[in-house]
Subunit: 345 residues, 2 copies
């Protein structure tokens, strides 16, 4: 059988090389492709947003990590939000908004296995599925509640306090009745912490001078939970102020220099004297709890108790340069790429 | 009223000076005293055994610690096992065996507040209340089960594996169906680990050469629980072999040099990549659970599944020198002082 339909267009971004140091746009290539046609049991998704995430640096490197690296000469992977354009799959209908792992492309064929959930537009703007009602919220909520276990009246310290995860942690801890203190790296972000995200205090660690003294003043009752997105020297001062039975959530370590054997203060004696706990948390272990956590966070967002910032760039072609900006810390909120029109915006 | 009874004798050991480095017998003085007479609500205890414990170095130092130091020119504190000689207290009768904190003396007056429990001689030799059925067993059992949470089939690594706590941890983990591996500091102790305490493998860390390679061979499936009584360099090699969701019980840190800021490998990235936990455990937080734990351990001891060694010196006067030997690592089992005859031996 010969089809007379013209071949519909698609675009994809491929990974072409691994980073030597900095991630640059030259590692990627924008390519034209044919738009796929769904067969039985398949659906076609029109991508609306790509999520850009700091972890992508690890995904494209071949250094040891918690997953295999993205293969060279294939489409870059990433979390996406899209609209079902055609469906021959019993679980999905045209117009459904789906959140999944469709990667850096304009149109994606799926058999459903790379879709994580349907997004309910009534819960708010669908872009929130990329952050507050997505992995950012899941990381913040479960990392804080499962490992940090804050109780009302306790003091919760957060590093990268104005960042996507950090700002959610601070707000969720505040909702749970805690005193919240943020560590961040600029005076602008100190203002954002206090004015936008409701922290009781915030510290610019780059200009604080004696960081332990500044922390001590901001945490007069000590630190019960430290939600640590950085590790390294910024966090060393915090460890000296932990209370009995403190919980340290190790959620990120970008403050620790790369290399085989970074050294710093030994923590065992401090953990023993304080009967404290330090535990790693990785959201990928908990994806199956997303619906449950979204059901908790969505009402808080609707009530205006979870504020957030988005930093959206336009067009698939802009994704590689936007990733470079994100990794340089130049974003001003959750970084996303708008690949196509948002029907709910 | 004038009493015609001759004054009965007592002996006490007083702390006279704080250690400058090594603990020596000269820090203590044996003194004669009058044997007290119990008033209403009081009882007189004849001390049978004193427990000597590594933590005593901390108790007599004025370095920061988890408790106030023993005051100078007062009786040395310590855990004791004694027989009630006279009682005007409703809860205790003559002949009761009591475990408590009567300190380094031959006879002790008590109002009951410094008694932790009555010891049931049917549970085995009463000296076991000093170790397997006392704080040693409580430390091993709760540290392992509460923080370590071993599951059958997992690998449990133990440092100071032939020591009082370590040997109990290894045997309890074995009873729970784990593979047990011991780290210890002499070939004699390696033999004791395997032959007396049932470890599947044991390593002399002083002669192992490449400790990580030796550990890797002894733990072919990695390490799920590390019960760490030492910290420091011995433990650094273990951290490189932990499995996903590994639990590290920080129970002692004598392998970390004293001083304000000991340094070593940073652990955050390892904890994050492995979603592992490191937590301090101090038995003093859990004294109220002693009866419950003794009820679990006593049958195992009666069945010969919890083997132990005792190292008993004779006479209150020998306590200071015995403490020095203990702190030098020259003991050959749980170190105790026999102050008076054991009616159950």
């Amino acid at each position: 059988m010969i089809s007379n339909k013209p071949v519909a267009k698609n675009q994809e971004v491929w990974l072409r090389a691994r980073p030597q140091g900095t991630v640059t746009p030259e590692l990627f290539e924008l390519r034209d492709a044919a738009r796929p046609e769904p067969g039985p049991g398949e659906l076609l998704i029109r991508i609306i947003y790509l999520s850009l995430d700091p972890a992508m640096r690890g995904w494209i490197s071949d250094a040891p990590n918690y997953r295999e690296p993205v293969p060279l000469d294939s489409v870059m992977i990433g979390f996406t939000l899209g609209e079902v354009a055609q469906s021959r799959h019993p679980d999905y209908a045209m117009g459904d908004i789906v959140y999944g792992r469709q990667g850096w492309r304009a149109w994606a064929l799926s058999d459903g296995s790379d879709i994580d959930r349907k997004v309910e537009p009534l819960q708010g703007p669908i872009s929130a599925a990329m952050h507050v009602l997505g992995l950012t919220g899941l990381t913040a909520y479960l990392g804080l509640t499962r490992v940090g276990q804050p109780k009302a009246g306790e003091t919760v310290l957060v590093s990268t306090a104005a960042g996507a995860v950090g700002s959610m942690v601070g707000q969720i801890a505040k909702i749970q009745g805690c005193r919240t203190v943020g560590l961040t790296g600029s005076d602008d972000k100190v203002v954002a912490c206090v004015e936008d995200f409701g922290y009781d205090a915030a510290i610019n660690y780059k200009t604080a001078g004696d960081l332990e003294a500044a922390l001590s003043e901001a945490c007069p009752d000590g630190i019960d939970v430290y939600f640590d997105n950085v590790g390294g020297e910024i966090s060393d001062a915090a460890l000296d102020l932990i209370n009995h039975r403190a919980r340290i959530v190790v959620c990120g370590t970008m403050g620790i220099p790369a290399g085989p054997n970074p050294r710093g203060p030994r923590v065992s004696r401090q953990l023993l004297v304080k009967r404290a706990r330090m535990e790693g948390f990785l959201v990928l272990d908990h994806l199956h709890r997303l619906d449950e956590v979204v059901a908790i966070l969505a009402p808080w967002m609707a009530e205006g108790r979870l504020r957030f910032r988005e930093d959206i760039v336009e067009g698939l072609a802009a994704a590689p340069a936007a990733l470079q900006q994100l990794l340089a810390g130049n974003n001003r909120g959750k970084m996303m790429v708008r690949v196509g029109p948002d029907p709910t915006a």
